[in-house]
């Protein structure tokens, strides 16, 4: 099976500091795959580099096509979605306007409609004319994910969606991601904690110091106390 997203020997730099030291991993069609690791190991940098926001050195193939070197908006048009760590809601625009800007072209409907979003997360329907900036952290997280879905991506990369959320909200994010995957969208989930990652992922990667240090299944990671102790637990 040739994977949907294949990253091979990826390096990235911020100025002179070398952050990614040859990252290699893959995400298959419709899979939920997690990328785990402690603070500062380079998880966000990895997905920013895939998305073209940080200059890539190495190979990134999406559906067999080399995308390293393309502009972020071109990469988005190929079907890659990105939900950043800082959420980046457009604060002055309403919930509806935020969702509309998720569509890559006006009125182009893909696998998701605005009604689907309201069904996935009913709170958005109640707040549809509210400025995005006044939503709670959890609502903003849901809105960012939904906004990216409106662009009909085949794979979304979600950076720490549970950070700073209450335990119930974390569960809801997990449920939302699962339902998205059921519709055939592959997910690359970046997390620091194991909570939802172990529950929903098919496979996991653990990063340390700009490299992949473990690759396996949730059961495999559960069984491997050594990796958890060295690379995950604080």
């Amino acid at each position: 099976m040739s994977a949907m997203l294949e990253v091979a020997d990826l390096h990235a730099y911020y100025g002179k500091s070398h952050i990614l030291h040859g990252v290699t991993f893959a995400v298959g069609e419709g899979e939920i795959v997690s990328l785990l690791g402690r603070n500062g190991v380079g998880r966000s940098t990895t997905i920013k580099t895939i998305m073209g926001q940080v200059r890539p050195h190495g190979s990134v193939r999406f559906r067999g096509r080399e995308i390293a070197g393309l502009e972020p908006h071109e990469i988005a048009h190929l079907g890659l979605g990105y939900v950043p760590e800082e959420r980046a809601i457009f604060p002055g625009l309403t919930v509806r306007q935020n969702l509309i800007l998720g569509e890559k072209r006006a009125g182009r409907s893909g696998r998701w409609t605005m009604e689907d979003m309201f069904e996935l997360f009913p709170r958005l329907a109640e707040r549809v004319d509210t400025p995005g900036g006044v939503l709670s952290g959890g609502e903003q997280q849901m809105l960012t994910i939904c906004r990216t879905l409106m662009g009909d991506p085949d794979l979304i990369m979600v950076d720490e969606p549970t950070e700073g959320l209450s335990p119930q909200m974390v569960e809801r994010v997990g449920g939302l991601l699962r339902r998205i995957a059921e519709r055939g969208v592959a997910i690359l989930l970046v997390e620091q904690k194991l909570t939802i990652a172990l529950e929903i992922s098919k496979r996991l990667y653990v990063m340390g110091h700009g490299r992949i240090v473990f690759e396996g299944t949730p059961a495999g990671l559960r069984a491997n106390a050594g990796v958890r102790k060295e690379w995950l637990e604080v």
């Binding site: 457009f90 002055g92 625009l93 990216t148």
Partner: protein, 315 residues
């Protein structure tokens, strides 16, 4: 009373003209983080182009063509100039726009000479619009006000009601996110730069015949536009609007009021004579201070509230 009403009218007019310049400048600044030193030069170019086109076709075609040409020039400057220079950082961009301003000034002098050109009020607008307190108010000034307000209304609608307007608003604060959603942000930048330039050009077309169309007009007005966007708060359109009107009105009133501190003190029965210390200071008329007032407001604002009236960005 007459003085107050007419100064207010003129002040608002000057303020609207300033806003036509500062709105483009502040939009460009908040998008790209670049203070475009050549902005006032594009304003000057608008006036000269309208003058030149007007010589062949009369005023009205120039009203449309000159801003259009300046807008296209602005878009080209962004596409083939700034976008390349951008890679070398903000200082390089600043120097680039600075050089561009000097270049445009030299080119204008080369083509049209150092002396002002006779760009005058078109005859179709050269009549009295209304009479108030026995004084007439010229039609071309009313025309300037209408054009400005119409243009701002149109831009406001585009910015808040259309999809491209929403994309621009979002790109003002989160360009990376907007690009990640699949929108061509560099093209949006080019568009904003083009529209901002066209606005500056339009200000030149309608400001050119009210002011003097000469190669120094960019250098005269440029600094005041910077004052406006700093006082208003970098990146804030509302702030730029308030600051434009404020500075427009304050400066117009200052020019109109032939008054010094001596006159003021005299009202309270205090006489200042030549023998008093600082006599020369007391003697300065407010009108003489008018050119200094904007810079005074700038300094005051930077000391008391560095973000400006409505700025969100810490500077």
């Amino acid at each position: 009373m007459e003085l107050v009403v007419f100064s207010l009218l003129n002040g608002v007019l000057y303020g609207l003209l300033l806003f036509m310049l500062s709105s483009g400048l502040t939009l460009i600044f908040s998008m790209m983080g670049v203070l475009n030193f050549a902005h006032a030069s594009l304003f000057m170019l608008g006036a000269y182009l309208a003058y030149q086109i007007g010589r062949y076709t009369g005023f009205w075609p120039g009203l449309v063509l000159a801003p259009l040409i300046v807008g296209l020039l602005g878009a080209a400057i962004e596409r083939w100039g700034l976008r390349t220079v951008h890679r070398f950082g903000h200082v390089a961009e600043l120097l680039f726009t600075f050089g561009l301003a000097l270049l445009i000034e030299e080119v204008v002098q080369l083509i049209w000479g150092r002396a002002p050109v006779p760009y005058t009020v078109p005859s179709s607008l050269d009549f009295a619009a209304f009479t108030l307190f026995g004084t007439t108010y010229p039609a071309y000034k009313v025309f300037m006000v209408l054009i400005s307000i119409g243009m701002f209304g149109l831009l406001g609608l585009v910015l808040t009601k259309t999809r491209i307007g929403l994309i621009i608003q979002a790109a003002l604060t989160h360009p990376d996110m907007v690009a990640a959603l699949g929108h061509n942000v560099p093209r949006v930048f080019m568009l904003v730069f083009g529209v901002g330039s066209a606005l500056a050009g339009l200000a030149g077309v309608i400001g050119g015949f009210a002011l003097v169309t000469s190669p120094t007009m960019a250098r005269t007005l440029g600094p005041i536009v910077f004052v406006v966007i700093v006082v208003g708060g970098l990146g804030s359109l509302t702030g730029a609007f308030v600051a434009s009107l404020l500075i427009g009105i304050v400066q117009t009133f200052a020019v109109a009021i032939d008054f010094s501190l001596i006159d003021l003190l005299a009202r309270f029965g205090v006489t200042v004579t030549r023998a008093d210390t600082f006599y020369d200071l007391w003697r300065i008329k407010l009108a003489q201070l008018a050119p200094v007032l904007p810079y005074f407001m700038l300094v005051l604002m930077l000391i008391m509230r560095p973000r400006g009236l409505m700025g969100t960005r810490e500077t």
